[in-house]
């Protein structure tokens, strides 16, 4: 039981607990966002364990650092008006829960059919997954998707500005 294996299962348990907690905090929006933060930090740790250091760092910076902060901004700016949730439909809860259990079972069963001859090597054995190799591949073989992503981000920024503008404001 090496350190990597133990920490993988610990981080996986933390990620699952955070995801379930995010669903469980119905009244408290800030607690739900913080649970999702726990999930993202755990996932970032798992990425680092699997040798994807750039993905781990970017997940911390982009998802945990920018996306969740944006969600917190909108949550706290929408204020009390946005908390009125309306009446709950009791009949659908059982159906939704049953569907969720079935989907979870199907997903995990599907994951189990992945061939057992594909082990994951510990990160210390792999010298090729580092940031250098990723950067080289990104800007030689994958430059078109990177540029397309840049345009997507520009379009998203312009769209968010346009959508959140008030009527008549510059």
């Amino acid at each position: 039981m090496s350190v990597e294996v133990v920490s993988f299962y610990g981080l996986a348990a933390l990620a699952l607990a955070g995801a379930v907690a995010m669903l469980a905090f119905v009244r408290d929006g800030v607690a739900a966002v913080l649970s999702l933060l726990v999930v993202f930090v755990s996932l970032s740790g798992i990425h680092a364990l699997l040798g994807a250091h750039a993905v781990a760092a970017l997940q911390l910076v982009v998802q945990a650092g920018a996306s969740l902060v944006l969600v917190l901004f909108v949550l706290l700016l929408s204020g009390r008006r946005a908390q009125a949730l309306g009446p709950r439909d009791p009949g659908m809860v059982v159906i939704k829960a049953a569907g969720a259990m079935a989907a979870l079972a199907a997903g995990v069963a599907l994951a189990g059919t992945v061939s057992a001859t594909m082990p994951v090597a510990p990160a210390s054995q792999v010298a090729s997954g580092g940031v250098d190799a990723l950067g080289l591949r990104l800007f030689t073989a994958y430059v078109v998707p990177i540029e397309a992503l840049g345009m997507l981000l520009l379009a998203a920024a312009v769209a968010s500005l346009g959508l959140s503008r008030e009527e008549g404001a510059p």
Partner: protein
């Protein structure tokens, strides 16, 4: 050695929790957060398979990490536009309930 089916199983479980959250939660912000969780689970699946194939194909093959970065970036763009929509919705009507957006419902 972490077996790859455990990584993919974790990704499947997180994705399913995200799907459940997107369907069950009534607040629009919670739906957006569940969508983020789904894309993060997909990025984990990409990285898990990348770790498998990077040892077998050639050194420096980092396709899985590239696609994980794609998934993260698309998640960020989607969240930005979604939050702008939530803000516009919260400004025009007083509720952030996803079931109140029913003008197009039959």
């Amino acid at each position: 050695m972490i077996p790859v089916e455990h990584v993919i199983g974790l990704s499947a479980a997180l994705f399913t929790i995200g799907v459940v959250g997107a369907l069950v939660r009534r607040s629009l912000l919670a739906v957006l957060m569940s969508l983020e969780l789904m894309l993060a689970a997909a990025a984990l699946a990409f990285v898990g398979f990348d770790r498998v194939w990077a040892d077998r194909v050639l050194a420096g093959a980092v396709r899985g990490q590239v696609f994980a970065l794609l998934a993260l970036t698309v998640a960020a763009a989607q969240l930005a536009v979604g939050l702008a929509l939530v803000l516009a919705n919260a400004r025009n009507r007083d509720s952030a309930n996803a079931e109140d957006l029913s003008v197009l419902k039959w």
